[in-house]
Every structure is written in structure tokens, then in C-alpha cells.
Amino acid sequence: MKYGLFPGCNMPAIRPDVEHAIRLTMPALGAELVDLEGYVCCPAFGTFPSMDEDAKLAVNAWNLSIGEEKGVDLMVECGSCFSSLKMGHEHICHSEAKMKRVAELLEVTGKKYEGKNTVKHITDVLYHDVGLDRIRKAAKDRYKGVHMVVQYPCHTLYPSAQVGFEETPGKPRILADLVEALGATVDHYGCEYQCCGGAGGFHRAAHEPAMEFARSKLDSIRNETKAEAIVVSCITCLMFLDKVQKDLNEADGSEKYAIPVFDYNQLLALSMGFPRDQVASIAFVDRSDFISKYTG
């Protein structure tokens, strides 16, 4: 198992503790990671994909080609990066015209892309390539009986024909299964399959509605579950569901929203004994009690 780690931009720049958790846990589970020298923004949907289709596909191909040259698939945590790259891969590989256009644009760079590799989300790698057994052994039941909820990264679910890796895309379960492999109990709630609302232009163009959208999810979690943590596997879900709790508390003048949010690999890293200051040190909602209680 060998993958090209595509870190994107938010994870290395704002939440490098997540990146470190990934860099420590994946090789320990048998998934070797290599760097992608000269990689650029995926490109994010609000950038080249909103300006020109050829530019979008050329940039996708630039990134994919770095992995292809090394003979590895790209492994991505960020939902948006995953979706941009995977949809780009599908468009390029299923259209001769697009493949030809991408080759023309890449020519001046000396690079080429032939569609020999693909893009995988980290939960796909964890579930299908690493496997639950190996994770169970590594995690040693540190979170036995701890209630948690999951936030599925929307970009890994839809459109399932292009990006999906769940057996039942409309009824995802991979992230919940992964969390249960850590020994935790996954609680379910009404707004479980609603996206976080933090991606794209929504929360920038419509901040209040986006906050209320998130509030409905957080209230659903608070009212219906015993969750001590929200588990995500997308940097946008992580940053948004963490920050929006602080914003809602400030708007309300309360301290009502205080559910720690973790990227899956952070929980994994903590349970495997990696130091908390390296793998889970950056957050708005305080996570120290949770970490001390369960992983020491």
C-alpha cells in the first residue's frame, strides 16, 4: 500500500496537526505515504472550475500526473480536494476530447497524464485497503463505550457514480464503521446525513443562514444523542463545525455548543499513543478534557 499524500491547503496551513496525525498513523497501519513535489491547489470549486473548464482539468491533470509518474494513487482527506480531483479524473478519463485537450495544455510543461492512477479519499483507504481489523488492533479499544457521532463528508458521497465508494451511497456507513472499530459507540440523529454547510460560497455569501443550518445539526446532536465528540474526515467539516460552535455561542451569549470535533485520524493517532501536542492541538472547542479522559 503506497499513496501520494495530497494535503491540499487548509490542512497544512491551518490544521497541520491533522496532517501530522495522518502522516504518523497511515504508515503505522501499513499505508506508505509519499509526497507530491510541486503540487498545487486541487483546484477548489470557487477558483478555476468557476472560470474555465479546460483550466480546471489542466490543473487537475497537473496534480494527478505527479502521482502517475511515481506510480501511486492520490490519497486525500479534504472533501473538496477529493471531489475536484476525482471528478476531474473521471471527466478526463471518460472523454477522448478532454484527454486530448489536457495533453495539449500540459505539453508546454513537459508533463503528461494518461489516466493510469486515481484518487482515493482517506476513509476509502482506511476502510477498503487498511481494513477494520488492523485498525481495531491498533486502536486498542481506548474509546470503548464512548458515544460519538459522525459527519459524512458530502463530497465523498455525491455524485456517487463519479466519486462514490460506499456500497449504498444514499445510506453511507463507512465512517461510522471506522469509528466503531475504535471501540466507540456511534449514535444516530435526524440531521446525520445533512452536509455541514461549511464548503463553497454558502457560509461566505449567506453567513447567518449557514450558521442556522449548522445549528440545526448541532441541536439534533445535542437533543438526540449522548455524543462526546463529532468525528469527521474532511478539513472543511472539521474547521466549520468547530468554529461555528464558537460563533453560535458568541451570537447567543451562551456556552451551549461545546462538542469537541476530531478528524478521524486524530482519534486514531491519540489511541495509538502519538503525542497530543502533535496530532490534536488546534481547535476552538476545547478538546483537552476528552483527550485526557480517554487517551491520557
Partner: protein
């Protein structure tokens, strides 16, 4: 009321070369469950597709709602006619940019100049704090690659046409 006589009926050809959106039967399932349908004004992707089909050029040019999309692509999953509403939203943004350069997102310039919007290369201190001493191999570490990347992008018509934005 839509004044059909005043519309540019062949405008759709400029928006999308794909055929899928013509099959839209205006059911609205793309709107049901869309997070940005709660924005004010709401993103109503079905209505945007109608505007394209009916050639409501001025209306569509001035419509900001395609930019509030959360990009979850749920609409793409549930559309019974395979209209690919999410990708139509992006196609409309592209069409707006081509007809009105003020629509070009400022982040494009950052992407062109350093490959990124977030200053990944400037986060070394924070990265070191969490124990990662090695620099990330982003494109700014390889000036020759950055030059090639920019050369690739400068072949794109709309970037060439607005090269003053990108530093010429």
C-alpha cells in the same frame, strides 16, 4: 412573468456544450435539501437551468446565486433526469466570467502566482509547533515548475484575455 420574445434562445450554447440540462423537467428535487436554498436570496438551481434554456441573458448575467453553492453535489445525485445541476451551476459561473470580467474570483490570481489560496508556504512555524520540521513540497519550492505551471495556464483564452490581472 417571463417575456419569452425578449430572450436569447441560443444563449444556452454559450453556457454549456453538454446536452444533459435540456432534459430538466423542472421537478425541483435539486432544490429540496439544498443547503444554499436557505440563503437569501436562495440558490434555486432549477430556476437557473430554466433561465439557461429560455435564454434569459440579462437576468442570468446579474444573478449572484450560483456563487452561493455549497458544492456538496447532492443535487447531482438526486436529479432523476441526470441534468448534472451542480456542474450546470459551475458552467453558469464560467459563462458569467466570460461575459463580465468583474466576476473573476480574486483567488484565481493567488492560484496563478503561488499555486494556492492559503499561504501554505508561510505556515512553517505552525507546522513546526506540531512537530513537522520538513517543508511541504508545494510548487513555490520549485521555481522552474511554477514557471511551467503558469505557462500552461496562460494558454487558456480567458486568462490570456485578462493577463493584466495575473501579472502579465
Amino acid at each position: 412573468m417571463i417575456a419569452l420574445g425578449e430572450n436569447s434562445l441560443e444563449m444556452y450554447k454559450d453556457v454549456s456544450q453538454e446536452e444533459d440540462f435540456k432534459f430538466c423537467m423542472t421537478c425541483g428535487i435539486c432544490i429540496a435539501g439544498c443547503p444554499a436554498s436557505r440563503a437569501d436570496p436562495p440558490l434555486l438551481i432549477r430556476n437557473l437551468v430554466r433561465k439557461v434554456i429560455l435564454g434569459q441573458e440579462d437576468d442570468l448575467l446579474n444573478d449572484d446565486t450560483p456563487w452561493t453553492c455549497v458544492t456538496c453535489s447532492r443535487c447531482e445525485e438526486v436529479c432523476p433526469q441526470d441534468v448534472k445541476p451542480f456542474e450546470m451551476g459551475l458552467a453558469i459561473r464560467q459563462w458569467q466570467c466570460k461575459n463580465d470580467e468583474t466576476r473573476l474570483p480574486p483567488s484565481l490570481v493567488e492560484l496563478y502566482k503561488r499555486g494556492y489560496t492559503q499561504a501554505v508556504d508561510k505556515s512553517q512555524e505552525l507546522r513546526a509547533q506540531v512537530g513537522m520540521k520538513d517543508k511541504l513540497p508545494t510548487i513555490t519550492e520549485y521555481p522552474d515548475l511554477l514557471e511551467k505551471y503558469q505557462k500552461m495556464l496562460m494558454q487558456i483564452e480567458i486568462i490570456k484575455a485578462n493577463d493584466y490581472m495575473f501579472g502579465g
